[in-house]
């Protein structure tokens, strides 16, 4: 039990929690992106993939519960850290100079996280819970219109879902927040768990930026393709 106690209460332990939960969520983000990109391989491919995910209820819920737990841990720990960090420096320097060697992402992890969090709530209500009031096109994604032979037509849902520019814009904003978050988090997590050295510190930083850019392009390509009519 002392391991958990130390993890929960110590500063280094809290960073371990942030790093490990962040890594789990990052793995999901990468997987989710790869899954979604199958929309470019045609209607049958993405629908088959969606059916594969949805039909294995036991695995689906196991993964959902796991990811939700990681999200709660990540959120809860970040709030605790944020308040502690604010308290640790009650008075700042004159003129609030930008912290040395910081990046836009590293200074605004909390803000990006909040943007992402707001988007995440909308995104889940939009496509997972399928609340028709918030998709701005007034269609019921869970209705018969979005079914093929008793299976869900995810392809059609994606095309319709992104057809409203405001929905797509919010999506791009949310993914933008996510990718800035990742550009710092994906290398910072290695430092937090101690898997870092001066030899590959810079490489990790670059790799995180590249990963963030690739993920951004991958995610944003879908609403952009829908709006420009590449995907119909």
């Amino acid at each position: 039990m002392s391991v958990i106690k130390n993890l929960y209460y110590s500063s280094v332990g809290k960073k371990y929690i942030m790093a490990i939960s962040g890594l789990c969520l990052l793995t999901f983000v990468i997987g989710h992106s790869l899954g979604n990109l199958q929309v470019f391989m045609g209607k049958e491919t993405i629908n088959r993939y969606a059916h594969f995910l949805q039909s294995n209820k036991e695995i689906l819920w196991l993964v959902r519960i796991f990811l939700f737990t990681m999200l709660v841990l990540h959120l809860w720990t970040s709030i605790r850290l944020w308040f502690e960090n604010r308290a640790a420096r009650p008075i700042g320097y004159f003129g609030n100079p930008t912290p040395m060697s910081s990046t836009f992402a590293s200074r605004n992890m909390m803000f990006m996280g909040i943007v992402l969090g707001c988007f995440l709530v909308y995104h889940i209500l939009h496509y997972t819970v399928q609340v028709s009031d918030i998709n701005l096109i007034g269609k019921d994604f869970s209705g018969a219109e979005f079914q093929i032979k008793g299976q869900r037509d995810v392809y059609k849902m994606m095309i319709n879902g992104f057809s409203h520019p405001l929905v797509s814009l919010f999506y791009i904003l949310g993914v933008g927040g996510l990718c800035f978050h990742i550009s710092h988090g994906a290398h910072s997590l290695f430092q937090s768990v101690g898997i870092n050295s001066q030899y590959y510190h810079r490489i990790l930083e670059k790799a995180a930026t590249i990963l963030a850019i690739i993920l951004f392009i991958g995610y944003v390509s879908i609403p952009v393709s829908v709006l420009t009519g590449i995907l119909k």
Binding site: Y93, M100, S106, G194, Q198
Partner: protein, 268 residues
Amino acid sequence: MNLTLKVWRQKDASSQGYLETIEAKDINQYMSFLEMLDVVNEHLIVEGKEPISFESDCREGICGACSCAINGKPHGGHKGTTTCQLHMRYFKDGDTIVIEPWRSRAFPVIKDLIVDRSAFDRIIQAGGYISVNTGGAHDANSIPVSKEIAETAMDAAACIGCGACVASCKNGSAMLFVAAKVSHLNLLPQGKPEKDYRVKNMVTQMDEEGFGNCTNIGSCAEVCPKEVDLKFIAKMNRDYGLAILKGESRHKPDTISIQAELSELPID
């Protein structure tokens, strides 16, 4: 050259501080920053005013006593430079310079630019030492240490405990200082027997002192006058993770078992 200084004035720990504008006239560009303050103070004394309180000791960049943030940057923000080694040639005639004390809850201001850094002492007392019987000096090479390890430990040991890392960190985190002290001893054979106990205790003490948490931004390493690398923070995090997993960190190893372990050397 003539400068305008905006200096943080605070009577004592419980008083409210404020920035006072003081003119610094006829400053020589070859002066160090502290010599400039000495000159300003002499003028203040002649005028019957309270001189600016600041800390200094060796004035050759090795003691870590000088502590003030110049234009929001601890030690002025020049690479590998302490305030005493910062020279006035870096400034231009007519410049306005803001001079403030270290900003951190764990470093309360005592007076003007002087802060209480005894939180660092308590962190060292929590584990920044090795427990061996003292006596006559051992032969320098009786415990073989590889060149690479010796150099890395020396890089960590270069930390002078000035507190610029805390002062530069937007979270007021002392991770670089503690990491340097932990790594310095944990890397060497003499420090290995108490490795787990040390890292666990020093991190616990750091948290108790009210320092913030590391967000891996790197301001600390940027401003460190001894250029202590961020890799030591990674090492401390690694050592901490292993120590709490092993669960051996709660008990301080006794001196006899440390001696026994050391007598089984060479390790490296």
